[in-house]
């Protein structure tokens, strides 16, 4: 399916970098010459509390902002979004559009038979990725989980190129970035994990690439397509 607009909802927990992931995805889409907008939605800034962010990518100017009630792609950054209802919608896939995609960071299946059936009825594809394990394996820290999630959505939908993601990551982490106190301290924490900033960028990019390849392969094998483009031209 080719759509004029791809709406991505990232449901995560505070501290996992869902907000950063949406910003980086939007920055990458912008670098690719597409229109994009990203924004977060959260309550008190604390670890493990529900935090959502949204990225809209399209071929025409985007006005819509705020919580994404009707997403094409839902990314679950943490199993507790599902198992403990740490989500702004119940169930977490509420509002997903027909033919959409659900990406879950988990090393084991989490959905009930009923959930699976409801997603199947809507022709929504389901992709599991052990994103935290991948982050630990490639980058050596679970703090890079958001990179696995970025790679997986890009790998399946090709909504941004790897080149643009590389540029966006350098823009985000290559210079001093002032946001909230919480974000600033997390930035500091992740920088301490790496001897040099270049190392941080390289390892994060490697995590994105690894997830991109896994997701890309899955999409090919399952013949799943969800792209941003002009449907009129494509037809």
């Amino acid at each position: 399916m080719i759509k004029k607009r791809l709406n991505v909802r990232m449901s995560g927990l505070g501290g996992q970098g869902a907000v950063t992931a949406a910003h980086v995805l939007a920055m990458a889409a912008n670098r690719d010459g597409k229109f994009s907008i990203s924004n977060p939605f959260f309550g008190a800034e604390k670890r493990m509390a529900p935090a959502e962010s949204y990225c809209r990518i399209g071929i025409e100017r985007i006005y819509d902002r705020g919580e994404l009630v009707f997403p094409d792609v839902i990314q679950v950054f943490h199993p507790q979004v599902i198992t403990m209802g740490k989500s702004y919608t119940m169930p977490f896939y509420s509002g997903v559009k027909e033919g959409g995609l659900v990406i879950i960071n988990s090393d084991q299946p989490l959905l009930s038979e009923e959930d699976i059936q409801r997603l199947k009825d809507l022709h929504v594809a389901l992709f599991y990725i052990a994103g935290t394990e991948l982050a630990i394996e490639v980058a050596g820290t679970e703090l890079s989980t958001n990179m696995s999630m970025l790679g997986s959505v890009a790998g399946i939908t090709k909504c941004v190129t790897m080149e643009a993601l590389d540029g966006a990551l350098q823009e985000r982490f290559g210079k001093k970035f002032v946001a909230s106190g919480g974000t600033a301290s997390l930035d500091e924490a992740i920088k301490k994990k790496f001897a040099k900033k270049e190392m941080l960028l390289a390892k994060n990019l490697a995590t994105v690439k690894a997830a991109y390849d896994i997701a890309s392969e899955w999409a090919e094998k399952n013949q799943y397509e969800l792209r941003v483009g002009n449907p009129a031209v494509a037809a």
């Binding site: 910003h23 920055m27 912008n30 229109f35 924004n39 819509d64 902002r65 896939y93 509002g95």
Partner: protein
Amino acid sequence: MADTHSVIGTKNKKGQTFTDTWKMMNEAPRTPSFYTGSEVIKEALRRASCDVMIAYPITPQSEAAALIGELFAEGYIGDYFRGESEFAVMSQCAGAAFGGARVFTTTAGPGTMRAMENFPMWSGARLPIQMIVTCRGINSPLSIQPDTLEIAYLLNTGMLVWHAETAQDFFDWILKGYMVSEEPDVHLPLALCCDGFFVTHTKDVVNLTPTDMCLPPYDPYRSPVPCMDMECPPVRMMRDPFIMKSNYISYATHASWQQEVWAAVERSRKHTIKWLNGLIETENTDAEVIIVASGTAVSQGREAIRLLEDEGIRCGLVKVKVLRPWPGEEIREATKNAKHIVVPEFNVTGWLAKEIKATIPDSDRVNAGPHVCGGMTMPPEIIASEIKTLLGMRTMSLAGRGS
């Protein structure tokens, strides 16, 4: 004489050139940048020749306030500090403005409410302070999410009140705002509002003016009331408030001064129209249905119009940019052909719809809503659905959004 003293073309200590504001905003080249609204506030301030910024943390404006702190560290702001509370901040802003400084502050929600006493005082004292309001919920239970109720409280303070839709509006209006505010026949504070998060925390493309150009500095001697200096110390203004002398002259003076403040709001109209290219913007006002909105509700309205177009329904749009002075005549003209006037709002009381109803003939044409409140989002689908219901068409059920 004025020309020989002009600073235009000279450089400030950061090497920026004081530039004619009209040229800077309308003729200078622009660079597209992908920034959050908070970053854009910082970039506007970099170019604003601001003397004093006073900060106090409250979501969602904390990020902008912190970023302006960075700007101070870089040397672009005359002075910067954190007040003890929002009430203290707004009082300190008054002090700085009395002293002849160009003043900037940012606030939100409960903080704005806490400081409320100061705003009519600013207007009465004719202090052209600029205050960014990144609207959020003000009620209990606590919400940090966008809700535009605090704007309703600002409408009768005698401040100029503008409502930005996007970060681009924000960038341009911060700089243009000082030009309107500081006119001698206006000289009033400006509340430049946006919907928190939807603008402050959203990354979007914004076209910025060159970093090496900045506004000419504020000239306090253009003030219509004596500015404070060694000849005119603050005690002269504060010691003998008129109302303390209960005679005819004191009452008359007090009443006429209030009238003068609101006359100044009216006089800002011509300057605002010049700088913002009108108090409202319109599209397809010959349509049967027109959405009238301000802030983020305009953006959601634009998306709803796209959805309706796909179904062959034509819908017009009025973007209300300025709330004080109120664009009554413009709205009457823009909505004269409309059968239905739909007013989506991010607050529970519908203050914009009430203002519009008080302005136009046949006010039963106004459909107050849809409303979302307490930090809810407004999907374009619910605006489109409300419009289809008004037109007597079948519409999707939005209740069970999971199924």
